[in-house]
Amino acid sequence: MSHAAAAAPSPEVAIPAIPLAELAPWALFFGLIATLVLFFVSAEQGAVSLTSGTLIHEFVHDGRHLLAFPCH
């Protein structure tokens, strides 16, 4: 208990932060994938079309409406 008291939080003992240099590659890598996925569910073959046709639009159609994205 005395050890726990010695290690008890004081204003000087900060919660360790994750260095930005460690975070950046993960943020870049996953940020790109996430943006791509979100784009295909929210906007592809709607206002913008990278691929032709309406297959993707129709497949994710109900999700696009119910997740509050503008659909058509």
């Binding site: 900060a14 906007a43 046709g53 994710v60 109900d62 999700g63 119910l66 997740l67 994205f69």
Partner: protein
Amino acid sequence: MTARAFLVRGLVAGLLAGFATFLVAHQVGEPQVEAAIALEESAAHQAAPSTPGMSAHAHGSDHETVVSRGTQRTWGLLAGSLGVGVALGGLVALGSALAVGRLGRLGAAAASAVVALTGFVAVALVPFLKYPANPPGVGSAETIGVRTEYYFAFLLISVVTAAAATVVAARAWPRIGGWGAVVLGTGTYVVVVAVLGALMPSVNEVGDFPAATLWAFRRGSLFTLAALWATIGIVLSGLVGRLEQREAATNRRRTLAASL
């Protein structure tokens, strides 16, 4: 704790959130989508009874579409929910990894909960208040371009403002304390977003669509978004909190062993 540890837990939280989103969307939202499509079709048949199947719309009866309505409201909805769930789960986890140690004295679990709550308000709720979800049949096809631009522009404004307000609050925290920092941060966000939201153009293409169906659809959409963000927040902060406690216990044991 590492960025990778956060991300992995965020993906798990996002997967569960995807299933929760699908469940709520399917049970609460789909009946309204079906009702809206029925209204849209009966209106289309009244307007042009001699040209069935001419519409290039994604909705309408099965013979007009590439993907059947039955697939759209089940597998399509599930795929969309899982995709958005996993993507947002991972992003919230990376936001939490950035926030921990930088938001006053909040630990990993508390920081994750704050990031998920902020995400729900900034990404889902506030854009919804300005540009609410519309069921099929509401909104003209010619304006999809500008409506999409407005929506994503306001979404970007909301997210950037929330991030900036959080930085302001975190900087002020040591001087004015936790309570003051939260009031300062939320106050800054609300004022900036309210002013910019009032300046952005409004969209009203509801026409004579039945108000009760529109409200039921929008309520269902809000419940869907709430299920998505609540599941991400609860699962992520739970998983991250468990790891946090395990690491704290290891550190205590190590300190104890070193002192013997």
